[in-house]
């Protein structure tokens, strides 16, 4: 399939891109790696009047360690993120999830910002950003603003980004040194869309009880679903705790249903994957305890 005709803008700066967005708004689509927008253009699921290429904007593909967080540029490729020592050390959850994002050949060009802006319900990077308590940095001609990941993903391919705004970067809180992490996913083939994915960050106290637990599910609902874990702080990680957590986690969910999986199957997977990631993250946390 070939895309419908579009005007091409090659932004040389963020101001170039936000200038076109301010003028054309919904009629313009931002193109980075093209692993999400490319297929949609080629299949004519979208027909923007103009495409704004941000892959040549300088310094949009950086990884910067700040005081409490790591800032990743919107056009940082998934492959470069996976190779970054800073990402591996400071955002272990993302480093665990990235091998699940597409394939070697797509990660070489696909970007973190593109995945977040596209907001596919099954995407791993948005899920990790939600579970990590991360932030999306948006820029328009009017202003720069930061939106917490939990408030950014609104639904299927729908975000809080305004039509004149550009995703310029992501901010990831640095993981506590004693936190354990785990990421698991089930899909038809490795690299396909997740039928269900689970991401977990856990901290244990001296008595091996839960000090904090961050957990989220991807692919189940139309956006990443954080799980309320407040009732489990102070409890040990064991079979009954994980079972109760699974029961409680799936109760409020409104699962997707499609040709790949029924709603019930997604909920069954969610329970299994919650059990796996909580146990695995706890095991990881124990190895990090000094």
């Amino acid at each position: 399939m070939k895309p419908a005709r579009f005007d091409y803008y090659r932004a040389g700066s963020i101001a170039d891109a936000t200038g076109v967005l301010a003028e054309l708004r919904e009629d313009a689509a931002v193109l980075a790696g093209g692993l999400s927008l490319g297929p949609m253009l080629n299949l004519r699921l979208v027909r923007p009047r103009a495409v704004i290429d941000i892959t040549r904007v300088p310094r949009l593909d950086t990884v910067e360690l700040r005081n409490g967080s790591v800032a990743t540029g919107a056009a940082l490729t998934q492959a470069d993120a996976l190779e970054s020592d800073v990402v591996r050390r400071e955002i272990p959850l993302l480093a665990l999830a990235l091998p699940w994002v597409g394939h070697f050949q797509t990660r070489n060009r696909g970007t973190l910002g593109g995945s977040v802006a596209h907001a596919d319900p099954s995407a791993e990077i948005p899920l990790c950003l939600v579970v990590s308590g991360g932030t999306i940095v948006l820029r328009s001609q009017r202003r720069e603003r930061r939106v917490r990941a939990e408030k950014f993903f609104l639904g299927m391919l729908t975000t809080a980004r305004q039509p004149d705004e550009l995703v310029v970067g992501l901010e990831w809180p640095r993981a506590p040194a004693d936190a354990g992490h785990a990421f698991e996913e089930v899909s038809q083939r490795h690299g396909d869309f997740a039928i269900c994915a689970a991401a977990c960050r856990i901290r244990l106290d001296g008595g091996d009880r839960i000090a904090s637990l961050d957990l989220g599910l991807g692919g189940v609902e139309s956006r990443p679903a954080p799980v309320d874990t407040a009732a489990f702080v102070g409890r040990p990680v064991d079979a009954s705790m994980v079972q109760e957590l699974g029961d409680q986690a799936v109760r409020p969910l409104a699962p997707l249903e499609d040709h790949v999986a029924t709603a019930d199957y997604r909920l069954a997977l969610a329970r299994v994957l919650i059990s796996r990631v909580v146990h695995d993250a706890a095991a990881d946390a124990r190895t990090r305890r000094t």
Partner: protein, 164 residues
């Protein structure tokens, strides 16, 4: 800022297998189609045209990427390698010879893309495990071989390259 109108054909200049090449493309032209139709680089195969099958995989600036989900206008100035560039003076390279030895292809449609992926992969992972090779291959669809001979060929090529 460069602005190319939708119906405007822009001159694109890039390097393909070490040679400077020039052609014209309107913005919506896939890099795949530009390489085939404008530059007659027919080793770039067109499969799904939405980034799934891997037949169109090329090296862009040394990295294995899909050429069907990027546009020719984006590739101005890029350095492209395709399957045509693998053989040296008419002699197949180590990887290609391993594919022949192991019967790692039947119809050959997916082969050009897989060879390019494997070329990049072996530079980043010169001594891969079978699991790593299979993970890399998950980005390609082959309907003939069942993958086993492709895995064997890539492992063999890695071994052969390591021995020389």
């Amino acid at each position: 800022m460069l602005h190319v109108k939708a119906d405007e054909r822009r001159r694109i200049e890039l390097t393909v297998n070490g040679r400077r090449r020039v052609g014209n493309a309107e913005p919506r032209m896939l890099l795949t189609d530009f390489l085939r139709h404008e530059l007659q680089v027919f080793g770039v195969h067109v499969g799904c045209e939405h980034g799934v099958c891997g037949a169109c995989t090329i090296l862009r600036d040394g990295r294995a990427v899909r050429s069907c989900t990027q546009y020719a206008v984006q590739a101005d100035g890029a350095e492209i390698s395709t399957v045509e560039g693998l053989a040296h003076e008419g002699k197949l390279n180590v990887l290609q010879r391993a594919f022949a030895r192991h019967h790692a292809l039947q119809c050959g449609f997916c082969t050009a893309g897989i060879l390019m992926s494997a070329t990049h992969f072996l530079t980043t992972t010169p001594r891969p495990t079978e699991a790593q090779v299979r993970d890399m291959l998950s980005g390609h669809i082959c309907r003939c071989t069942g993958y086993a001979p492709i895995v064997a060929a890539i492992l063999d090529a890695a071994q052969a390259a390591g021995d020389t």
